[in-house]
């Protein structure tokens, strides 16, 4: 299949998945295009559109939680950032994705335990 076509298919499928979770594609269209392109390539190489910004370990249980969109498995952490780790998806109310920071899981857990 044509890469461009696959990219659009992923876009259609994934928007249906993230919508009920309160997320949308980032308004940074260049970033979105880039990330989807990476996912198409990763899918060709590894069989699934794994996350372009997180590493696989080869253990199925770990890696299957990194197939895009991985939001369901990292919900609290991403909700705190209002974006997913890659920034492909953001909360629906976000218009300026550049203002959102990556917060590591460790920092997130530490700040959560403080509250």
């Amino acid at each position: 299949m044509d890469d461009e076509k696959r990219k659009e298919q992923l876009r259609t499928m994934f928007s249906k998945v993230v919508d009920p979770l309160g997320y949308k594609f980032s308004t940074d269209e260049e970033l979105v295009e880039f990330l989807l392109e990476q996912e198409v390539n990763i899918e060709k190489e590894k069989g699934s559109p794994f996350c372009p910004c997180q590493g696989l370990t080869g253990e199925r249980e770990h890696d299957m939680k990194l197939v895009c969109p991985c939001i369901p498995f990292h919900r609290e952490h991403y909700d705190a950032m209002k974006r997913c780790w890659c920034g492909l998806y953001v909360h629906k109310d976000v218009d300026d994705p550049d203002s959102l920071m990556q917060i590591s899981l460790k920092e997130f857990l530490e700040s959560k335990n403080k509250d």
Partner: protein, 82 residues
Amino acid sequence: MKKVVMYTLSTCPWCMRAKKFFREHDIPFEYTDYDKADDRTKEAIKEDCLAHGSEMSFPFVKIDDKVVVGYNPEKYATLLDL
């Protein structure tokens, strides 16, 4: 000069931005793309990442003995006294 070592993925835009940050500030750094590394290197990177915070998120930036996970120019700057 503090030593900057980075673990990255070849597919990750935030890793590219992190590299760009250090280049723009003329700070030398070493990096390894986890996804392109051989099995032994992979294993070592994985251990490092998991030991730090039980996740495999990139970029993973070490500035001397301090670790920053994620693209965070402010933190990089603070740690480098920029």
